[in-house]
Symmetry: C2
Subunit: 198 residues, 2 copies
DNA sequence: ATCCGCAAGATACGGTCCGTATCTTGATTG
DNA sequence: CAATCAAGATACGGACCGTATCTTGCGGAT
């Protein structure tokens, strides 16, 4: 968009305006046609300003996505492992929807050829989400006696997010029915098979 | 690469030469730098020849990947559900490795904005693989009495491939340890929790 | 209040690749 | 051997790349 003739944005305000422009541009033309030139134009700035901060459309997209995902959230305590896990999956789904299927896949594709970006994304987002959210839920379940701590492996902790991610990546959306299927047919059986008391 | 001065390829031979060139080019420069121009040059042909068949690098990549994945294979009968499932996961992993992490993600990203291509990929490859492979394995397990047919849902049938795909997409490789984890901590518990006899 | 430094913003550049049109030439068919 | 059709070569305008250069406004320091 065009801007006021006299008003030069700087720092945080400028950066946020650019990331907003990235999002608008992305929704309008899609990721494959997301260009530095187009974003600059829409943000009312110029390419050099973008290149001083990000070196490619993918980096822009990642920064944009990161800026839109809420920093930290906790899973509400519903009183049961099943309820908490539904809440966890729903929350994870919300976060993924914010980013969007295409953006997520584009970022993953980029990351698959960029070991540096991979660490940021995998450890910073994937593990962050898995551990922070699942950690809370499972800690409560263990405290309640619904789960045996010694059988809670890394893989089981990752499982809910893994299933959700897979579903989201394939289909772009995950309805409540799918969540219940994952929960009742896979997650809870797997958790309980390893020494749970309930 | 350059070719004989006098020898004009046509039809199948030409097509295969192009797809081979796509693969070489992809491995050398990566998908993000895979251009029609580069492929044409490497295949010793010209852009119009490519555009007559495929309309973009992504379509080229999909065609290339499809040409490299073996048409149909069956999972060997190892005598047990566990052994068969390991074989199934290993086979799925082999197929994914043929395509490669980056190519797979790039195709999924493309498919996420192209409903037409989505049907081809999801139904033709994902479901194909899931149902063909899992179908065989589970049918044998049911015949052996290791599994109760009435509890084998769509989602449980998809589960092994889903887990494998998720792992492959995130990390680009899946070692034997990961396969055993998925199997013993998730797949088998989920299957057995739903009325299995063993 | 004034000056200075710094980054925003504008502009321009060569370069690559896009997607298409046109033309020639080799191979295939009958 | 003639007719046909696609391979292959070439050229084109256009979009976007990534960078260099220049100015101009903003903000902090004296």
């Amino acid at each position: 968009m065009e801007r006021k003739a006299t008003s030069r944005r700087r720092g945080e305000a400028l950066e946020q305006a650019i990331l907003d422009a990235v999002w608008d541009e992305f929704r309008e033309v899609g990721f494959s046609k997301l260009t530095m030139e187009g974003v600059a134009k829409r943000a009312g700035t110029s390419k050099p300003v973008l290149y001083r901060r990000w070196s490619s459309p993918v980096e822009l997209m990642i920064a944009c996505a990161a800026s839109r995902v809420p920093k930290a959230e906790s899973v509400p305590d519903t009183g049961t492992l099943r309820g908490d896990t539904i809440a966890l999956l729903t929350l994870a789904h919300e976060r993924m929807r914010i980013v969007g299927q295409t953006a997520m896949l584009s970022m993953l594709a980029q990351v698959s050829v960029d070991p540096e970006a991979r660490k940021v994304l995998i450890e910073g987002i994937v593990n962050n989400l898995s551990k922070a959210l699942s950690g809370t839920v499972y800690a409560r379940a263990i405290a309640r006696g619904e789960l045996a701590e010694e059988h809670l492996t890394e893989r089981l902790a990752r499982l809910p997010i893994d299933l959700m991610r897979n579903e989201f990546i394939l289909f772009g959306h995950v309805d409540a029915g799918a969540i219940e299927e994952m929960l009742d047919q896979v997650i809870l059986p797997a958790l309980r098979a390893r020494g749970a008391t309930v």
